[in-house]
């Protein structure tokens, strides 16, 4: 509680200071030197673009098409903001291959991931969505910002729903195979992106889930499952991923295994029967089946919606009725 009060006090003071000094952000930013006449894209880029011009590397100039290329925003970088002053590279006079810039971001970089990300975080660590980058799974696995983001491109694949998966699947191969299974979120259709559920920049939830927990993330779109209900199904409230694999399954409803086999991992069965299908029952079993109905066993628990043929309210029921059969068993 003391920690909480301390945060409140610090935050309130911070807001006060912020508002007192409230002036347009651009005016408050440090003024940058006036653009050189030889600059092509970024302020002060002439020292680089005298060689790396539209003929040498037109793709490099594409940074001008992006937010980084907005010169009216004095916070935007120059080449050296990210690549370092790189004197040995700039001043190279020899005939061979010049030394690399101080910081490079390609596959053959010699810079540690922390150095590469540091170049970005100098400015971007202020974003609240990146507050938990330090210590996050990606950070500790040497994933740098440039591992996913392309700065010198008009369109960054990581920031477009339709292309983001290409970036994530560079490492997450198993999910690439799963998203094409028949039960899936509309990921490959471009309607749901990995970042709709995950915050790759770090979060407090397991698996870099975007919100505070797996369930809270799922409730963004499936809020009807939140309840609370009169009759709750505890594993549902504990973690949706107890039963579902959101990346795609062959079993319906994104279930990790087909019902009844999923249910039988926790629940005692209704009776002694072997799962069986219409059209494939032994004559003896067929003959022995009650004329009044198949009851809770045989094909009724194996086919259709299996256990959920009767236990329809697996996410919880808000039915208060006390009439037999009571809704306790998620029947209605």
């Amino acid at each position: 509680m003391k920690q909480w009060k301390k945060f409140i006090a610090v935050f309130a003071a911070s807001i006060g200071m912020g508002l007192l000094s409230a002036t347009p952000a651009l005016a408050a930013a440090d003024p940058k030197p006036a653009a050189s006449a030889k600059d092509i894209v970024l302020q002060g880029d002439a020292q680089c673009t005298r060689c790396h011009d539209e003929a040498d590397g037109p793709q490099l100039l594409a940074i001008g098409k992006t937010k980084h290329g907005t010169n009216a925003d004095n916070r935007t970088p120059s080449c050296t903001s990210c690549h370092g002053e790189s004197a040995s590279h700039k001043d190279f006079k020899g005939s061979g291959k010049p030394p690399k810039p101080a910081i490079t971001f390609g596959k053959t970089t010699a810079n540690q991931a922390s150095e590469r990300s540091g170049a970005c975080l100098t400015c971007h660590q202020k974003d609240a969505t990146r507050s938990h980058w330090a210590g996050s799974t990606h950070e500790t696995k040497d994933v740098a910002c440039s591992s996913c983001h392309t700065v010198h491109a008009a369109k960054d694949k990581a920031r477009d729903k339709r292309t983001q998966t290409e970036v994530c699947f560079t490492c997450h191969k198993e999910q690439r195979a799963q998203v094409n299974r028949p039960s899936h979120h509309p990921i490959m259709e471009g309607k749901v992106a990995c970042s709709d559920c995950h915050n790759p920049h770090g979060s407090v939830a397991p698996k870099l889930m975007k919100r505070n927990s797996t369930n809270e993330t799922c409730y963004q779109c499936h809020m009807e499952k939140r309840g609370p209900f009169v009759h709750n199904h505890e594993p549902v409230g504990e973690d949706c991923s107890n039963c579902h694999n959101p990346h795609g399954t062959t079993a319906e409803f994104l279930l990790k295994a087909r019902v009844p086999f999923l249910c039988h991992q926790c629940h005692t069965p209704h009776g002694g029967f072997i799962p069986q299908l219409v059209g494939s029952q032994t004559p003896a079993i067929l003959a022995g089946q009650a004329v009044s109905g198949l009851g809770k066993g045989t094909t009724n628990v194996t086919q259709g919606r299996a256990c959920m043929n009767c236990h329809t309210q697996v996410h919880g029921s808000n039915n208060p009725a006390n009439t037999n059969p009571t809704p306790q068993f998620m029947l209605r």
Binding site: V10, P182, F273, I274, N324
Partner: protein, 813 residues
């Protein structure tokens, strides 16, 4: 190479300068703009689709192109920057001609303010068709009508439609303080697959005077009517300085359902076990249960609750603090209150406990997280993180279950509150469970020579949850059934080791190993063995000899393992739980587990033009709970996974690139039922090949081929042991087993893009997809699974579809 390029660049610049002299500076500025100014485009085209909606059921699940044979394609990508002010305007429209369209509009002045608006639609068309005579399918009041012959009804295709509208605002008040707010409204309408079923319990409905062919149980297809609205509002105040980033926020989420219950009209004649029309069981008389039971027809006509309105308010404060340049802390505190208080009466749900017009549901969730990262020396990184989350369900208790007592003492209702034996009616409360989760991790990594980083991590997780404790005679605590015992606390501790080389010219990669063990507290027994009730049976002159023998045997168990008291809610060891019932099942999420996993990955660039990626994973989870020597362990027994992958990228030359991948995954699960053991194996192979190239400066071509083969094998065997030998019937049925479930999909995509001029392209694309889903949920060997009213469900097993599209792309800046 590099030097040559630079010289070439210089020469090109000289040429460019010469041209400048001819065409002037305005032309030069235009030329440069193509490299440095934001691009915009409008794409207009049409797509023709082959086949009918059944051929497109799988591919048309979400793509908006299932119902018709022709579609308009319209995409807009407008991006404009005012260089003088740094103000951006963007309009992004995707699939505007389809019903899964997206439209986003944004304006922002960088570092000052931003306003966004977006609109989104998504239609989900269920893959399967329902053949039925039911009317009002998808409404809250459907009428069940028995079809005389399966397959002769009308086809119904269920569909869900989401329409979302979002608004966002950001404002920087100073370089260190900004406010952001967002609002999202989403309507979700339509219907989705559901069901209804009941098998008459002896105290609810019975054959009575009806013929033996009458119907004891019935399952019906129902479609859940969906008329949902969700609203989410978020406000964040963000402050930062050189050391501290702090964000305080509010997140409110509100769910409302336009429908409150589903009440079906069900006929009194449905299929019996032979598929013949027959009368449903009637209500048991008052001589069986006080007040009489309910007929099967009326059970199926009782209202089904639909999801109630609910809401949650969350307040949070989060951020990070740099103690030193190399020591940083992260933190978050969040408090969430979720409530649900929709009026039962207004929902059309009767018979709530006296004094309760709504659940009064309230769940408070408190989250606290703190993390620390440090680099005490340049090569050593340390990480510590703790996360604590408490879900406190403060929903008031009330007696939601008031079951009439049976008139015949032995034939008690399916579930009663045993300690209240002798009371006029059996009562117990609603079910709600609080839990606390704690997770801690510590990690140290050291940079070895050759840029190899060695990491050692330790993880610890605990979950504590409410479980039934010993029920006092006066308590109404809800009793649970259909489960083995429950566990109050589970603890999992694991370690992991990894060697990673992230920086190298040609070969990078990692190898990791992790192992963990989950254990926990004693188990809370859910056995309803109760000496009071057992003695009552023994003393009951109406009880049969067999009933008395069973009661005496159970009484011995109660004395041996439950201290002579009611077993329900007692905290017992695994051994005692198995002593009470050797076939007890320890639930998967609570049982002891031993986990182990290997992981290897490598990125290899043997040539400048060729790069390869390899990965291998293997893991195993094993149920570590005690098992009965004869019966073996029941329920979940274990999982094993393996995954192998190779990716390759090859640049043929500056204009042509090829890439490909192959992955193979295998997952096994072992589950033991009372009379069968399932060895489920899923094998998944995926293959992809892509080609992208430029034939000339104007013509670009591409091709992609993907193949997926997913096979689930259900290995069934009949349980056979000294206590309960497998029956001949079960052995015969297990020998028949269950067929494989196979999903196979091959997709070939071809495209060509031709530049008409600098500002216009023509793009032609062709996609041919062949899908095969062979499974047995709804039919087997050509025999359909029929509901009690002869409703059937189907999906075309082999689906081939071709999409042919052409589009004109206009580009501008």
């Amino acid at each position: 190479m590099k030097t040559f390029t630079q010289q070439f660049g210089t020469s090109q610049k000289i040429i460019a300068l010469a041209i400048l002299g001819v065409f002037g500076s305005a032309q030069a500025a235009d030329d440069m703009a193509q490299y440095t100014k934001p691009d915009s485009s409008i794409t207009v085209g049409a797509t023709a689709v082959s086949g009918d909606d059944k051929d497109r059921a799988i591919s048309g699940l979400y793509n908006g192109m299932r119902d018709h044979n022709g579609y308009l394609n319209l995409d807009v990508d407008y991006l404009r920057r005012n260089d003088a002010t740094g103000t951006w305007t963007s309009v992004k429209g995707r699939n505007l001609g389809l019903d899964n369209r997206d439209l986003g509009v944004a304006m922002q002045k960088q570092g000052d303010w931003k306003v966004t608006g977006d609109y989104s639609e998504l239609h989900r068309r269920d893959m399967r068709s329902i053949n039925t005579a039911d009317t009002g399918v998808g409404s809250a009041t459907p009428t069940i009508v028995r079809l005389a012959t399966p397959g002769t009804g009308s086809d119904v295709n269920l569909e869900l439609k989401r329409i979302g509208l979002g608004l966002g605002v950001e404002k920087w008040f100073s370089p260190s303080f900004m406010v952001e707010a967002s609002f999202k409204n989403e309507d979700k309408d339509g219907a989705r697959f559901w069901g209804r079923g009941y098998d008459c319990a002896g105290y609810v409905c019975s054959q009575g005077a009806l013929p033996a062919t009458s119907v004891k149980n019935a399952i019906l297809m129902m479609a859940e009517p969906v008329n949902f609205n969700t609203k989410q509002f978020e406000l964040k105040l963000n402050f930062n300085d050189e050391k501290l980033n702090l964000s305080a926020g509010y997140y409110g989420s509100f769910f409302t359902n336009g429908q409150s219950n589903l009440t079906a009209t069900v006929p009194n004649i449905l299929n019996n076990g032979l598929g013949n029309a027959a009368t449903l069981y009637g209500a048991v008389p008052g001589t069986v249960i006080a007040g009489g039971g309910t007929s099967l027809q009326n059970v199926l006509q009782l209202p089904m609750a639909l999801p109630p309105d609910n809401q949650a308010h969350q307040f949070s404060i989060a951020g990070n603090y740099a103690f030193t340049p190399t020591t940083k802390g992260t933190f978050k505190y969040a408090f969430t209150r979720a409530t649900q208080d929709q009026d039962f009466g207004a929902m059309g749900l009767a018979n709530a406990p006296a004094g309760r017009s709504n659940l009064g549901g309230q769940v408070d969730n408190t989250l606290f997280q703190f993390g620390l990262t440090a680099k005490p020396i340049a090569k050593l990184s340390l990480l510590a993180n703790v996360r604590y989350e408490k879900k406190d369900d403060q929903t008031p208790d009330a007696a939601y279950n008031l079951e009439s007592r049976t008139a015949t003492p032995i034939a008690v209702p399916q579930y009663t509150n045993d300690p209240q034996n002798g009371v006029a009616s059996a009562t117990w409360d609603n079910n709600h469970v609080s839990n606390t989760k704690f997770a801690a991790k510590f990690e140290a990594s050291y940079l070895l020579p050759q840029n190899v980083r060695a990491t050692l991590g330790v993880d610890h997780n605990t979950v504590e949850r409410m479980v039934p404790k010993v029920v006092a005679a006066s308590a109404n605590e809800e009793q649970l059934a259909g489960l083995g015992p429950l566990r109050e606390k589970t603890e999992e501790t694991g370690y992991r080791l990894e060697l990673r080389r992230a920086i190298a010219e040609t070969l990078t990669g990692a190898i990791g190993y992790s192992q963990s063990k989950r254990t926990g507290s004693d188990w809370s027994s859910l056995s309803t063995l109760d000496p009071i009730q057992l003695n009552a049976v023994i003393a009951d002159p109406l009880a049969t000899a067999a009933q008395k023998t069973t009661a005496r045997a159970n009484l011995l168990l109660v004395n041996a393992y439950c201290g002579g008291r009611s077993c329900y809610g007692q905290q017992l060891s695994e051994g005692a739980i198995l002593g009470l019932s050797r076939t007890t099942l320890f639930p998967k999420e609570m049982t002891n587990l031993d986990r182990e996993k290997w992981k290897l990955s490598a990125n290899w660039t043997p040539l400048e033009k060729l790069s390869l990626q390899f990965s291998v994973e293997q893991g195993k989870d094993k149920n570590g709970a005690l098992t009965d020597a004869v019966q073996g362990g029941r329920g979940y027994r274990g999982t094993d996974v393996a995954f192998y992958n190779i990716d390759a990228d090859y640049a043929v030359n500056d204009n042509w690139k090829v890439n490909g991948y192959y992955s193979y995954g295998e997952q096994g699960q072992q589950i033991n039922h009372s009379v069968y053991m399932l060895d489920l194996t899923n094998k998944n192979s995926a293959f992809g090949l892509g080609l992208l190239g430029k034939v000339s400066g104007k013509l670009e071509l591409g091709a992609n081929l993907t193949y997926l083969n997913d096979v689930s094998n259900y290995g069934l065997s009949a349980q056979d042991n000294a206590v309960v030998p497998a029956t001949a019937n079960n052995l015969a049925q297990a020998a028949i087993g269950l067929p494989d479930v196979t999903f196979r999909q091959t997709t070939l995509s071809l495209f060509g893009k031709y530049a008409l001029d600098k500002s216009a392209d023509i793009r032609v694309s062709l996609v041919h997809q062949r899908s095969m889903l062979k499974e047995w949920s709804w039919a087997n060997n050509g025999v359909p699974f029929t509901y009690a009213d002869n409703t059937t469900v189907s999906l075309k097993e082999q689906q081939n579809v071709t999409y042919l599209g052409a589009a004109y792309i206009y580009k501008f800046q």
